[in-house]
């Protein structure tokens, strides 16, 4: 029996970004970049481990909006076209850099993108979800869900029915893709408020994750700090994030991703190269953007950057995996000595950290899983479900309202930059409930309008918009998206109320904002 457990969670989420109205839409690249740099490399790591017979157990969230985008034919088509352009650029780069220290890196990119193209088009046949499903069925991954559009639930709890809808639609989407009920739930941004557990319980969701103080500051002092889950009053388990393991990976300053041998994120040829040369591969309007080809390593705290050396970075990833494992071993050995049960160390990360921000992240994870399997006996990887099966009796108390955002509470989503959104969200939430109650069992055009109104409300509720407004990058896009969805909702609300539904407008919205095609608005009626 191991001395302790490591519960790693990779939370994969992107807001619903799909713009059929424009051929080239900057924000759709969020998905393309995440596919090339995170999701495909992570799947490659998982499949490599399976191929080599390495036992591993990871928890992965696939958000409902991400699932919707991954199986959307238009976005799939556009991604293939995007990869095609990227490959062409990588090919030109191989020739351009011939005889320079950048040449090996250019070769690396050509290989990487080529492999993405082959795997995406031929191996997966564009269906990544199927391969996640296979990994779950083989017992390597435990896939969980999160709120339908990643709504920030603590501030939506003013109207519990709107939270219920976020969860109901998420569970439904999960069932459609994975053929079972999700075992647990990722609270968007780890945002918890008392009462959320009651709603999770209604959907048989057995656990969720909070930040450290979500468990540590519970109403009754938790016996085992964050090294064992607590049961929220409804009987749903809350697992608290471990600070040490988070910080080693997360911290930009002291964390692994800041190592001088790792790839420098901010030096991209989209910005560095001659305009005429790079023009075909950036935005058609001439806006310089990240292409994904970056030639430098972090080098040091200077503006002077040295060329990236793939072998050095790979060595560092191995060293860092060993260091992470060593620290966890040290941690659980110590904790096991003062606890009367094996401690569980909860280490959740945004999946997009791995590969996108931290280019070597997937390699690190690969090394870590292999080392954990073969180089030690103190630690075992575990999922929350496995842990709860082994330790069904846990302390019962109310977790503390919290989030993993800056300062630990709700301020990121409720600050001067975005506080104005809540009056609209709550208004629309109230209206949606009213519409659903008034028009139970609607059919035809009215039903379509009610369903689309629900979609617009859900899309407006995305925690990504206030987050972007608070952080100050791409603010204009977030504000526009928020306003558009609220305005669409208000127009549909008015048309439904007035009994004059504009079918042309409705059809356009159904085409454009086609998330959750099987949604049933009656989820807002309650009771």
């Amino acid at each position: 029996m191991p001395k302790g457990y490591l519960l790693m969670v990779l939370h994969a989420h992107l807001p619903f970004v799909r713009h059929p109205e424009h051929e080239h839409f900057l924000e759709e690249r969020w998905l393309f970049e995440a596919l090339t740099e995170c999701y495909l490399p992570l799947l490659k790591v998982f499949e490599g481990l399976v191929r080599d017979g390495v036992p591993f157990r990871l928890t992965v969230t696939l958000s409902p909006t991400l699932l919707s985008m991954l199986c959307d034919p238009l976005l799939q088509e556009r991604y293939v076209a995007h990869l095609g352009r990227l490959l062409e650029l990588a090919e030109r780069e191989v020739h351009r850099t011939c005889g320079t220290p950048f040449h090996p890196v250019a070769l690396m990119y050509r290989e990487l993108f080529g492999e993405c193209y082959r795997r995406y088009c031929y191996h997966y046949q564009r269906d990544l979800i199927a391969s996640f499903r296979r990994l779950q069925e083989a017992g390597h991954l435990e896939i969980i869900t999160t709120a339908a559009t990643h709504g920030y639930l603590p501030l939506l709890m003013l109207q519990p029915q709107t939270v219920r809808a976020q969860i109901a639609i998420a569970v439904d989407t999960y069932r459609r893709h994975f053929g079972r009920t999700p075992p647990g739930f990722w609270l968007p941004e780890c945002g918890y408020a008392p009462g959320l557990d009651d709603i999770l319980k209604e959907f048989n969701l057995r656990y969720f994750f909070t930040d450290t103080h979500g468990v540590l500051f519970a109403a009754h002092r938790p016996r085992y700090n964050v090294f064992a889950p607590i049961f929220a009053p409804a009987g749903v388990a809350a697992f608290g994030r471990d600070v040490e393991s988070s910080k080693q990976v997360w911290s930009a300053r002291e964390g692994y991703p800041g190592d001088y041998d790792y790839r420098e994120f901010y030096r991209d040829i989209g910005f560095d190269l001659d305009y005429e040369y790079i023009k075909p591969y950036i935005h058609p309007d001439g806006i310089r953007i990240q292409t994904g080809i970056k030639y430098y390593r972090i080098t040091g705290p200077t503006d002077h950057k040295e060329p990236y050396v793939p072998e050095w970075a790979c060595n560092k990833a191995a060293i860092h995996a060993g260091n992470f494992m060593f620290n966890r071993q040290h941690q659980v050995r110590y904790l096991a000595g003062v606890m009367d049960r094996p401690p569980v160390v909860v280490a959740p990360y945004d999946a997009e950290l791995f590969g996108h921000w931290w280019f070597e992240g997937p390699r690190w994870l690969d090394f870590l899983c292999r080392k954990l399997a073969y180089d030690q006996d103190d630690l075992a990887m575990i999922t929350a479900s496995d842990y709860l099966a082994a330790f069904p009796c846990n302390q019962k108390t109310t977790p503390c309202a919290s989030s993993w955002g800056n300062k630990g509470y709700h301020e990121v989503w409720l600050c001067a930059a975005n506080d104005w959104i809540w009056r609209h969200l709550h208004w629309a939430g109230g209206r949606m409930q009213e519409l659903a109650r008034r028009h139970r069992g609607a059919d035809g055009l009215l039903r379509r309008a009610l369903n689309q109104a629900a979609r617009e409300l859900l899309l407006a509720q995305s925690s990504d918009w206030p987050f972007i407004m608070a952080t100050g990058t791409a603010v204009a896009y977030a504000v526009r998206r928020f306003k558009e969805h609220i305005a669409n909702f208000l127009r549909l609300d008015g048309e439904i109320k007035g009994g004059r539904i504009d079918e042309g407008f409705l059809a356009w919205l159904e085409h454009k904002n086609n998330v959750f095609p099987d949604l049933n608005y009656e989820v807002y009626a309650g009771g």
């Binding site: 009754h220 700090n225 630990g408 509470y409 709700h410």
Partner: protein, 237 residues
């Protein structure tokens, strides 16, 4: 007609000369004002904006950004807990409600009175219905409120204070509870707090092996949660 042509031409030439003179006169002093300026980057950009700015990417071919209504014609006051120390309130008052107010207190009463936000601490078990009153700006429709009371429940009232000092409540909010900011004092009998775990953990945290915990918590909370509000630990030391 033909007599007019030289006149028209002449007038045209004079006009051109005048315009050229004005142009030159306007241009001339320009270098004077520019040259003495210390070449600071910001100023240089202001004085010489790039000649042709490409249109902003967001504007090309997209419909105008929709405008959302400032009010929805409802009476509502919503209170949200932002963190252990701050609350946020937003509100709106319908025209009907304003009319009722005028009908009751006189036509000038609205202009003569001042908007006030009242905050009641309604924490169960707290002794007095103590309240905080904030004079908000006329026309404001939201407010960030510092209460500095973690783990307390609040209800807000929005109203107007008449010149004679009377407070007229117009809106009542929901109840919002601020989150805890520290370890709980409650260590219930069924589940004793395993003191050893915390004591030893803090010892390592203070030592060389893992200063991360303390540092991280300090950064996030602005305090060291393990050292505050844990009397058993302090006593043990």
């Amino acid at each position: 007609m033909s007599v007019l042509i030289p006149w028209v031409l002449g007038a045209g030439v004079i006009l051109l000369l005048v315009l050229a003179a004005i142009f030159l006169w306007l241009r001339k002093p320009a270098p004077k004002t520019v040259t003495p300026v210390v070449p600071r980057e910001e100023l240089a950009q202001e004085l010489a904006p790039p000649p042709q700015q490409p249109p902003a990417p967001q504007d090309t071919g997209r419909p105008k950004e929709p405008q959302l209504p400032a009010t929805y014609g409802a009476d509502r006051l919503v209170l949200l807990a932002r963190d252990p120390h701050w609350l946020y309130a937003y509100w709106e008052i319908s025209a009907t409600r304003q009319e009722e107010f005028r009908a009751t207190f006189g036509h000038e009463a609205w202009q003569a009175s001042r908007p006030v936000l009242r905050l009641y601490d309604v924490t169960p078990g707290e002794p007095a219905p103590d309240y905080l009153e904030i004079a908000v700006q006329e026309g404001a429709d939201n407010w960030h409120i510092h209460v500095g009371r973690p783990d307390h429940a609040f209800r807000a009232e929005f109203g107007r204070r008449l010149p004679d000092g009377r407070f007229v409540p117009l809106l009542v909010s929901n109840v919002a509870t601020t989150p805890r900011a520290s370890l709980s004092e409650r260590t219930d009998e069924e589940w004793m707090w395993l003191e050893e775990l915390y004591r030893a953990y803090l010892r390592t945290a203070a030592g060389a092996s893992s200063p991360l915990l303390v540092e991280e918590m300090a950064r996030r909370m602005g305090a060291l949660p393990l050292t505050i509000s844990s009397p058993p630990f302090t006593a043990a030391r």
